[in-house]
């Protein structure tokens, strides 16, 4: 039965935004923890740690997010766990975000002049204190704009979770489209909703970036 694209369909699609947001939030928090570890490993003295972090980044930036999702999804069976789309999407997106945030934050950490770190060492601060009080606060300023920019990429990335059957915004659109056969309207609405989520973040990121550039050139 084909039915009209009605207001209840719009409500169903809008309601699915919460799953997009929940998934994005899980991936961002997980990715922030993982990314911090990757960034610290990448800038560590230990070459083995550096290599491992480098390989992690290369693998996750050099393969499609879709494949990462499928691998985790079907990998759950291999690991003897029940296949669950939300869990698979959360794990895959967390790993994905860890690699990208790790690389962004490595750049930010390395942008802090080495003299700062050396001065902290000369003051006999430990590694933890050096990072916590001297390097990371300065790196944070450099990292904020690209981190917000990556958040847009992450929200868009959650749309792929629909392919393994997780009902977020994109999947909700597909479900409504299958019932109403109004793809132009349905996918137009879904696109508009993603735009409403992502555009403000893009604007904030751009604003912060230009403010940073002015602060540096001054």
């Amino acid at each position: 039965m084909i039915r009209e694209f009605s207001s209840s369909d719009v409500l169903f699609i809008v309601g699915a935004i919460r799953w997009t947001l929940i998934l994005s939030a899980i991936a961002f928090v997980g990715g922030a923890i993982g990314g911090m570890l990757i960034a610290l490993a990448r800038t560590a003295q230990n070459t083995l740690l550096q290599r491992v972090a480098q390989a992690f980044i290369a693998v996750f930036q050099g393969t499609p997010l879709l494949m990462q999702l499928f691998l985790v999804y079907f990998g759950l069976t291999v690991a003897g766990l029940p296949i669950d789309p939300l869990m698979a999407a959360a794990v895959a997106l967390t790993l994905h975000a860890s690699a990208y945030l790790g690389e962004i934050w490595r750049g930010a950490i390395q942008s802090v002049p080495t003299g700062q770190s050396e001065a902290a060492s000369a003051l006999s601060l430990s590694y933890t204190h050096r990072m916590r009080y001297v390097v990371l606060p300065q790196a944070l300023r450099v990292a904020t704009a690209p981190t917000v920019g990556f958040l847009v990429q992450l929200i868009k990335g959650t749309s792929l979770a629909s392919i393994i059957g997780f009902t977020e915004l994109t999947r909700a659109g597909q479900i409504v489209n299958n019932a109403t056969f109004q793809p132009f309207l349905v996918f137009g609405t879904v696109a508009a909703l993603y735009f409403v989520l992502c555009w403000p973040l893009s604007l904030i990121a751009r604003h912060m970036e230009s403010r940073m550039r002015r602060a540096i050139t001054r």
Binding site: M67, L71, F74, T77, F184, A191, F195
Partner: protein, 222 residues
């Protein structure tokens, strides 16, 4: 305990290799056409005709702030509803070109802006003609500045192209989906597929690195 079974994957390797070849063709075509769209977009953004700049701005912002998956659904399922039908492979190509065109427009615009005005004035002072200024003073340094972001955007495009398998375009990911559905060795199939994409990305970045050394080799600035 899970029993790994790579047999069906290696028995059907020709099918995957064919898919990989289609992915390479699709990515390269999308890159070339996307570059043309990007150049047109970047030039249009410098236009004195304001509505044209707005159109390009809307295009860039909408594409960059919506998922590629939705773009491809819109083009493949949405456009036929208003009279534009196309085959899955054509829709895949169109979606990729539109997508990479938006990112490329921004990259190329930044490249044009990255050449300091003083350089152009210096070129004029050296009595270079406008064509020489364009070629040696503007284009070559501008291209060298944006080459890294442009090429990583292209590798990202190749990886993103895996998503076109959802509309049954015949790329590497679609070949994998077929194989996964017929053999049930899903994990093994996607593991091999992921490795193949990784190798493709390595090959592309090797190729781009070689091209960089050929075209942007300035002994003085190394």
């Amino acid at each position: 305990m899970y029993q790994f079974n790579f047999r069906p994957v290696f028995d059907n390797m020709d099918m995957l290799l064919q898919g990989a070849w289609l992915t390479v063709q699709l990515s390269l075509t999308a890159m070339v056409l996307g570059l043309i769209v990007s150049i047109v977009g970047a030039v249009a953004k410098t236009s004195r005709f304001v509505p044209l700049r707005w159109i390009v701005d809307v295009y860039v912002e909408v594409i960059r702030n919506t998922p590629f998956l939705i773009q491809i659904f819109f083009i493949f399922f949405g456009l036929p509803a208003i009279g534009f039908s196309m085959s899955p492979n054509t829709a895949a190509l169109v979606a990729l070109v539109i997508n990479v065109g938006a990112y490329g427009t921004e990259i190329i615009r930044a490249g044009i802006e990255s050449v300091p005005r003083g350089q152009i004035e210096a070129g004029r002072a050296l009595a270079l003609n406008p064509l020489q200024i364009l070629r040696y003073v503007i284009l070559k340094p501008a291209l060298r500045n944006i080459y890294p972001s442009l090429t990583s955007q292209f590798i990202y495009l190749m990886l993103t192209s895996s998503v076109v398998s959802v509309i049954s375009a015949t790329d590497l990911a679609a070949a994998g989906a077929d194989l996964s559905a017929t053999t049930f060795a899903s994990f093994e199939v996607y593991l091999v597929l992921t490795i193949m994409y990784f190798l493709l990305a390595l090959a592309f970045s090797g190729l781009f690195g070689a091209l960089r050394r050929v075209f942007f080799h300035y002994p003085a600035s190394r």
